[in-house]
Symmetry: C2
Subunit: 337 residues, 2 copies
DNA sequence: TTGTACGCGTTATCAA
DNA sequence: TTGATAACGCGTACAA
């Protein structure tokens, strides 16, 4: 605690060897057995640890990867967690920042990570455009966009098939006879929210079911109260929907509370498909049908791609990958006619 | 993007001035007006930015503060957020790590932050002991324990009056005539959970109400399913409690779902006090009584203390501060006899 | 295998 | 005010 950590120089003095030899030992080079023992003894005795700042200055690498996410919510947390698990073995660490869905903060955090000299960046953008990135990022480091593409910027991108899975969910409802289908969407400026709405619209189009604007509600991601409110609104329509599709975790939570409060019986009085909420789905009775995104797979894909790029392998750049979410049908859907 | 960022040396060349002068300018020193203009021109032209790694090596400061929290959940997020807001103005940034309630990870993350040469540490410990810290932290940097003390380690500590507020909550129920009071606690190895249980016990003792072990359930923080399960268990007791105190956010969420599912009327059939869940409290009908912790205040206190220590002011060390949580009474409590 | 010598980009000291 | 120069701690040719 009190002593300033020893440096390579100290180890050199202690062992009588040169700085270069110690450095080589530290980096896995060959050293005479007796010297190795000596060095290891010195390291213990002097409580030595490499100064990663100095090493970073020299190697121009920090061995850290910057991760920028909108908020610390379970969807992003899970992705980051699995990303990290893969990276762990490789010597890379991650530094995660959230920007609380704030446009200004999004740029500031990106700048922060960049200034910390991360070796690569993983970004879940909201407002961020290509021009912003070009303004902030001046070194040529790998950047991967996750969950949402970056407007006007060419980079590796890993997405989920939001449109398709949303289509499938709504299609399922339609095939069960539903024609009055409500949807609680996210903000229209967010890519994933747009895609999910588009899937809903396309399914209606394909099955020749007219859209009813009353049934389309816009809530906020990361805000369960909005899910609650929008569900209440849907339930209070004179001619309410017979099924509702809620397009995100937190909003699903709020929607469930609304349904309970109104004492609506699922699926008898209302069919429901939620989103990304396995824990809740287990709890809620009857078991909740869900769209489940492959969060772990996203994290792993990002990690693998990142490692490839960090090795200098630029093949397939810019890579565009779309992973598949699944519609998980449980007991919250009833056939109607 | 392509060009490697310019260095002070480049600026020196461009302007014809010396490296030392540029450096002085960068650090707010006095420079002739014409030189200042010249330097600023060069900085723009060459896209210069200081290399903070090099600066850190030289100054032995990274101007970052490491923050270690159990999980990214709303309670900790809010604290971190307000901590950050205060720090923002000062030039310090934070790097946040979670350890997912994992003992091994808790040490690893601490080590990671330490190796990143943070200038100070904010820690919400779970398993961490003084001996662990002494093993990992060798430089003498300020450490602040938040929400929970660190066993066997002398350092600044900022806590919440868990015992007292829990006592008050239970006392309130008792004063409303309740004698059969259930509690859903957190894990016994966590300080805050212990304190909350102790407050419950003490209130019973003071009012001469015998404890009923059946009414004391242990769930898990950060796991709403446990709140759900424990509430179900309480409700299924032959002689169920007339009131339940749930001692954490996520568990309160699960408990509410359980209550809804069982179609229990609050407060007629059951009085409830939840925890830390303002958003939910707004949504749920009837409005939920709550223990509310002063999250913002915690963050601000930590920040101020930290800044003081970073200035070298060691007065009052080790500081022990206890902030006050409040019992917020709403419509979820009924008088019984 | 080991050591010498230099450079990474910055700050800090001390003359000028 | 400015500049030459020595650190900071480490990695790496290159020579020994």
């Amino acid at each position: 605690m009190v002593k300033i950590p020893a440096t390579i120089k100290d180890i050199a003095k202690y062992t009588g060897l040169s700085i270069a030899t110690i450095s080589k030992y530290l980096n896995g080079g060959n050293v005479l057995e007796k010297n190795r023992i000596l060095i290891e003894e010195a390291i213990k005795a002097l409580d030595f640890e490499v100064n990663e700042i100095a090493r970073g200055l020299r190697t121009n690498k920090t061995m850290t990867i910057g991760v920028l996410i909108p908020v610390f919510e379970v969807f992003f947390n899970t992705i980051v967690s699995s990303l990290e698990n893969v990276l762990l073995e490789t010597g890379y660490s991650i530094v995660v920042c959230d920007y609380r869905d704030d446009e200004k903060l999004e740029k500031e955090r990106l700048d922060f990570l960049y200034k910390k000299r991360v070796d690569a960046l993983v970004v879940v953008p909201t407002y961020l455009k290509g021009s912003d990135i070009k303004k902030i990022i001046k070194r040529d480091i790998p950047i991967v966009a996750v969950d949402r593409p970056i407007d006007d910027f060419e980079c590796d991108t890993i997405l989920v098939n939001n449109f398709e899975v949303s289509y499938q969910a709504v299609e399922k409802l339609i095939l069960m006879g539903h024609k009055k289908i409500g949807i609680i969407c996210g903000p229209q400026n967010i890519y994933t929210a747009q895609e999910r709405l588009n899937g809903y619209v396309q399914a209606h189009t394909d099955f020749n079911i007219p859209l009813n604007e009353e049934y389309i509600k816009f809530g906020e991601f990361h805000n369960m109260e909005s899910g609650y409110k929008k569900m209440i609104e849907l339930l209070e329509i004179q001619n309410p929907p017979s099924a509702v599709f809620v397009t995100n975790y937190e909003m699903t939570l709020g929607a469930i509370i609304a349904i309970n409060e109104k004492d609506i019986k699922v699926p008898d009085e209302l069919s429901v498909i939620g989103f990304d909420n396995l824990e809740m789905a287990r709890i809620v009775k009857p078991s909740l049908s869900l769209v489940v995104q492959p969060m772990e797979e996203i994290g792993e894909s990002v990690a693998r791609l990142l490692l490839k790029r960090l090795k200098g392998d630029k093949s397939d750049f810019p890579l565009q990958k779309k992973l598949s979410a699944q519609v998980l049908i449980k007991n919250s859907i009833k056939r109607v006619d």
